[in-house]
C-alpha cells in the first residue's frame, strides 16, 4: 500500500510514518503543496493524507485538481481547523474522511485502513482476524462462522482493535473512537473497562481465543 503524506510539520510526519511503516504501508512525504503536486503527477497512491493548511497554499486546491484529473486515490484530510464549514467543503470536494489535529495515531490508522478497504473492495468486504470475521457492510461479527451479538459500541471497539492489531491502544483513543470528539466527559474510564469486559466475555463465550490483552497503565492490545 502506498500512502502520500502531505504535511509540513516534520515531527508529525515522522510519527505518522513510523506508525504506518509497521502496518506495511509505503509512505512518501511531501512537505509543501508544490512537492505534493509533483509527486501526484508522477506516482499513483492508494491513499493520501492531506493537511489543508500548507505553507504555500490551501490543501483543498490539491484535492480539487486531483478530482479534476479523475484520480482514484482515497483522501483523508488532516486539519488543525475543526470547523464544520471546512469539513463539509472537504467532503464535498471528494475527500473520504476528515480528521482533526491532534488525532490518535490508532485513529488515523483505522481510518486509513477503512478508506483503502472501501476503495479496493468497493465496500463489500470483510476483515478476518484468526477465527473472527467482521462483515463490514452488515456490521456483524462471527466467530467460527457463528454470529456473535455485539452492541454497536462493542462492534466499533473490535474493528478499531483489529485495525490496530499488535499495537498498544490507549483508553483515550478507544473512548474518542467510540464517542466522537466529545470525550471530555470521561474523567474516569470505567465505561471503557465495562465495554472491554463485555466484549471479551462475548468473544470467549463464542469460543474465541482471548486476543485482547490489557497493557498495564497504558491501554489494550489485540495480539495476533
Amino acid at each position: 500500500m502506498k500512502v502520500l503524506i502531505i504535511e509540513d510539520e516534520p515531527e508529525l510526519v515522522k510519527s505518522i510514518t513510523q506508525y504506518l511503516l509497521k502496518e506495511n504501508y509505503v509512505c512518501e512525504i511531501a512537505t509543501s503543496a508544490e512537492e505534493a503536486n509533483e509527486k501526484l503527477w508522477v506516482h499513483e497512491y492508494d491513499c493520501i493524507l492531506l493537511d489543508i493548511t500548507l505553507p504555500d497554499g490551501n490543501g483543498l486546491k490539491i484535492l480539487e485538481s486531483l478530482k479534476q484529473k479523475n484520480k482514484q486515490e482515497g483522501v483523508i484530510i488532516i486539519s488543525a481547523k475543526n470547523s464544520i464549514d471546512d469539513r463539509i467543503k472537504g467532503l464535498n470536494l471528494g475527500a473520504d474522511d476528515y480528521l482533526v489535529k491532534p488525532f490518535h495515531l490508532a485513529e488515523l490508522s483505522a481510518r486509513l485502513a477503512a478508506v483503502i478497504r472501501r476503495k479496493q473492495f468497493s465496500g463489500a468486504n470483510e476483515i478476518n482476524f484468526h477465527e473472527i470475521t467482521v462483515n463490514l457492510p452488515g456490521k456483524s461479527v462471527s466467530v467460527h462462522q457463528r454470529l456473535v451479538e455485539l452492541t454497536r459500541k462493542e462492534y466499533d471497539v473490535l474493528v478499531f482493535l483489529i485495525s490496530n492489531k499488535n499495537r498498544v491502544i490507549s483508553k483515550n483513543a478507544i473512548a474518542e473512537h467510540i464517542s466522537g470528539d466529545d470525550a471530555d466527559v470521561f474523567d474516569n474510564f470505567d465505561f471503557i473497562y465495562a465495554h472491554m469486559k463485555n466484549l471479551k466475555k462475548k468473544l470467549t463465550e463464542a469460543g474465541c481465543t482471548d486476543y485482547i490483552k490489557t497493557v498495564y497503565g497504558l491501554g489494550y492490545k489485540m495480539e495476533a
Binding site: K101, P102, S170, N172, A183, D184, A194, G217
Partner: protein
C-alpha cells in the same frame, strides 16, 4: 433625581425667594416714591392756597373755601406756626365711615389778623391698594415663571437632552462582543457632542482590545495544537516499543494522561472562542426529547456502573429552533456535570418543558456556588474536568439568549435553561 429637575428646582426656589423678598422691597420703594409725590402735591396745594389767600377776606370766605376744598382744614390758633411739618396720621373718613391713614402737611397762615393752623391732607388708602396690586402682579409673574420653567424644562428634555438619553439608552444596551461601534447621535450641544465622541472612541479602543484578546486565545489554541499532536503521537509510538518495564509504562501513562488533558483543555478553549466568535449560527429545529435520549444513551454504561438512577419528566415533545451543535454541547455539558458530581447510587432528575430544561442531581453543596460558571473554576480537584464545561454552558446561553440559572435546594443541585 434627574439633573434637569434638580437644576430647575433650584432655579425655581431662587425665583420664589427673590420674588417674595422683592415684594416688601417694592412696597417700601414705591411707598417712598408715592409719599414723595404726595408731599409735592401737598406743597402745591399749599401754594394754591397762598394764591387764593388775597381773596379770602372774611371768616365766611375761609369757611366756604375749606368746604369746597375737602383737603383743607383751617383751625384758628393763638400762636404763630412758623415751620411746616409733614406727617402721617389716622383720620376719620366720613365717606367710608372708618379710620383712614392720611398724609398731612401742617402749616401756619395769617388771615384776617388771625393765626390759622392749615392742615392739608391726602388719603394714603391708595398705597394699600398698591400693595395688593404689587402682590397680584408678583403672583402672576411667579406663576408665569413656573409655567415657563416647566415648558422650557420639557422642551429642553425633548430637544436638547434627547441625544444624551439616546446615548444612555445605547450604552445600557451595549454589549462589547456584539457591536463593534456605537452609532453616534448628532447633538447641537457641544458637551453632548464631546461626550458622544469620547464614548465612541472608548468603545472602539475597548473593542479593539477585546478583539486582540479573542484573537490571541484563538491563535494560541491553534498554535498549541501542533506541538500537542506531536507530543501525543510520540507518546503513542513510545507505547509501542518492546519490553517496556512497569516503571516505564507508568511514566508513559502519566505523561500521556497529562497530554490528553492538555488536548481537551485546548479543544474546549478553542470551542469557547468559537462560540464567542459566533461561528455556530445556522439554526434548525431540534427535538430535545430525542437529544436527551441520545445523551443518556451515551452515558448509559457510566450511569449503570455507578448505580445512578435517572428520572426524566417530559409531558410532550419539545422542539426548539437552535443550532444543533450548540444545544447538544449545552445539554451534554450539563449532563456530564451532573454525572460527575453525583455520588454513587445517587439520582439525577431531568425535567423538560417547552419553556425550560432542568437537570437536578443529589450532592453536597458547592463551596463557591457563585463561581461555578467561571472559567477554570473547579469544585473538585479529584475530577479531571477541564474547568470549562460550565463556562461553555454560560457562553452558549449568552449567544443563544437562554437564561441559565443554578440553585441548591433540598440537598440537590438544580441547573435550569430557560429557552
Amino acid at each position: 433625581m434627574r439633573l434637569l429637575t434638580h437644576t430647575v428646582r433650584n432655579y425655581f426656589l431662587l425665583s420664589v425667594i427673590m420674588l417674595l423678598m422683592s415684594i416688601p422691597a417694592f412696597y417700601v420703594v414705591i411707598q417712598h416714591l408715592f409719599i414723595e409725590k404726595l408731599d409735592e402735591e401737598l406743597h402745591e396745594h399749599r401754594n394754591d392756597f397762598y394764591k387764593s389767600m388775597p381773596v379770602l377776606k372774611t371768616d365766611a370766605d375761609i369757611e366756604l373755601y375749606a368746604l369746597l376744598n375737602e383737603e383743607f382744614i383751617l383751625k384758628k390758633t393763638n400762636r404763630k406756626i412758623s415751620t411746616d411739618s409733614l406727617y402721617t396720621a389716622e383720620m376719620y373718613d366720613s365717606a367710608g365711615a372708618r379710620m383712614v391713614p392720611y398724609r398731612i402737611l401742617r402749616s401756619g397762615v395769617f388771615l384776617n389778623n388771625q393765626h390759622y393752623e392749615l392742615l392739608i391732607h391726602e388719603s394714603l388708602i391708595g398705597t394699600r391698594e398698591l400693595i395688593l396690586v404689587i402682590v397680584m402682579i408678583k403672583g402672576v409673574i411667579l406663576s408665569a415663571l413656573l409655567l415657563g420653567l416647566i415648558i422650557v424644562n420639557r422642551s429642553i428634555t425633548k430637544k436638547v437632552w434627547n441625544p444624551f438619553y439616546q446615548t444612555l439608552h445605547q450604552l445600557k444596551q451595549y454589549e462589547l462582543d456584539k457591536n463593534p461601534t456605537l452609532p453616534v447621535i448628532a447633538s447641537g450641544i457641544t458637551e453632548f457632542q464631546d461626550l458622544n465622541t469620547a464614548i465612541a472612541q472608548l468603545i472602539e479602543r475597548n473593542h479593539q482590545v477585546y478583539l486582540n484578546q479573542k484573537e490571541f486565545t484563538e491563535n494560541a489554541s491553534h498554535e498549541l495544537q501542533t506541538p500537542l499532536a506531536i507530543s501525543r503521537t510520540k507518546l503513542e509510538l513510545l507505547m509501542q516499543t518492546k519490553e517496556l518495564t512497569r516503571e516505564q509504562a507508568d511514566l508513559i501513562g502519566s505523561l500521556y494522561e497529562a497530554t490528553e488533558r492538555l488536548t481537551r483543555l485546548n479543544k474546549n478553549l478553542l470551542l469557547l472562542t468559537k462560540i464567542e466568535n459566533r461561528q455556530f449560527i445556522e439554526k434548525e429545529t431540534v427535538n430535545l426529547n430525542s437529544l436527551v435520549r441520545q445523551l443518556l444513551e451515551f452515558h448509559q454504561s457510566q450511569l449503570k456502573d455507578r448505580k445512578i438512577e435517572v428520572q426524566v419528566e417530559q409531558e410532550s415533545e419539545v422542539s426548539i429552533s437552535a443550532n444543533h451543535a450548540l444545544i447538544e454541547i449545552l445539554l451534554s455539558n450539563l449532563l456530564s456535570n451532573a454525572v460527575r458530581y453525583t455520588s454513587t447510587s445517587g439520582n439525577i432528575e431531568i425535567s423538560l418543558t417547552p419553556q425550560a430544561f432542568t437537570i437536578s442531581n443529589a450532592g453536597p453543596p458547592f463551596e463557591n456556588a457563585t463561581k461555578i460558571f467561571e472559567r477554570f473554576h473547579r469544585e473538585s480537584k479529584t475530577h479531571h474536568g477541564s474547568g470549562l464545561g460550565l463556562a461553555i454552558v454560560r457562553k452558549i446561553g449568552e449567544v443563544s439568549g437562554y437564561a441559565i440559572a443554578y440553585h441548591y435546594k433540598d440537598s440537590m443541585h438544580h441547573f435550569t435553561v430557560r429557552f
